[in-house]
């Protein structure tokens, strides 16, 4: 653990980044969480992010507004429909239309700016190369190249400070392993939001890739998804 315990976390309010928040905290970091209002269809995730940040405890939580609808090209930010009911095989073939061009590159760049001002040397993000193996900006070689670039980009790089490290603790875990890890660390998954196409009250659609992967993950972990209980209760 370095002297400066500050870490910047890309924080969507989803299952993965909430688990990463728990991991970073368990490693002793003071977490500076950054979320993005980027024109996403599922902007209700930002309410989840605020709830989780408050419940788990972060040093600071900010939300940047950037409108990626300007560029389009994704079902998450445009008029393209979110695919429903896809098989695991279909999900693992090619790059899904829910991919948002250069999104992780943009998000990491804001994280890098904040890290530079906070003098934080550690960035955390919940990318995963097991599900959606086709996402270009979730692959280990991309993260390594980003880290190398980041270490040439900033004042700290020129002034010879400790190099920036990008932590991706979930990159090689299955959804089931991620859920088990989070439950061990006390993550309250009833607060998290995964669905790409939720109802206005945040209820998941149960049919998009993100819902199906989450459902499979909880099933294989042998536990009930507390998010579903929350919505069943509120309906009953």
């Amino acid at each position: 653990m370095p002297e400066n315990r500050k870490a910047i976390l890309l924080f969507s309010g989803g299952l993965d980044s909430s688990t990463v928040l728990a991991i970073a905290k368990s490693e002793g970091y003071d977490v500076y969480a950054i979320s993005f209002r980027y024109g996403q269809r599922h902007r209700v995730e930002l309410e989840a992010a605020a709830r989780i940040a408050a419940q788990m405890g972060v040093a600071r939580h900010i939300t940047m507004t950037i409108d990626l609808r300007t560029f389009g090209g994704s079902a998450l930010t445009g008029d393209i429909s979110v695919p429903k009911g896809r098989s695991q095989e279909a999900m693992n073939t090619g790059i899904p239309i829910t991919y948002v061009p250069a999104r992780n590159t943009i998000f990491l760049s804001f994280a890098l700016a904040w890290a530079e001002v906070q003098e934080a040397g550690d960035l955390f993000l919940g990318v995963n190369a097991v599900d959606y193996s086709g996402y270009p900006d979730c692959r280990p070689q991309y993260i390594a190249a980003y880290e190398k670039m980041a270490n040439l980009a900033t004042k700290a790089a020129v002034e010879g400070h400790r190099p920036i490290r990008i932590h991706t603790p979930l990159i090689h875990l299955t959804k089931t392993e991620i859920i088990r890890k989070g439950l061990e660390l006390g993550v309250d998954y009833s607060l998290t939001c995964s669905c790409y196409d939720p109802a206005p009250d945040g209820a998941p659609c149960h049919a998009c890739d993100a819902c199906l992967l989450r459902q499979k993950g909880f099933e294989e972990a042998g536990v009930a998804d507390p998010l579903l209980e929350r919505f069943n209760h509120s309906q009953g």
Copy 2:
């Protein structure tokens, strides 16, 4: 020249990026120019960008709004004063307070997203490693690392399209050489804006680093700066 002649240009409306616009056009590219309303003190430069884009002819010009004041840490986006009357030696020592943390990394990331959606394989930016030798994100090794990262970040990278190239035609030129190049290509510098701390009507302060470098550049090129004539005329 590749079949797809689209190039994305980081376009501030300043002397450098206007010169790069002329260079990209002279090389046969259809230029997609992107500007940023990022909380800069000199937001009048965006009016200059719009004028120049219209006058020189671009395929499209967009302006993204992102608020880098959230992070602070720079005289260009915060309450810190812009230094005035500095010597050339002072400008070449260390990283000036007008440096904006990770700004080029953020701007390039948006350019990359737009390139991905437009299927453009070329990015242009007017960074320069001669003046302000201390700016970390203007150095050739940073640009090379960014290019490498970009070629792992996108759908095109995974699908094996032509690699993305980042063009920095001004990186090793002095301000005088940049001005000579732009004049050859017919750039109307009376439309461009360089000052970090202009008056509300866009009149330059004549004392910030950017004004002093511009003044020195025109002096050494042996031509009058048409911007000054414009403001002298409007005052007279």
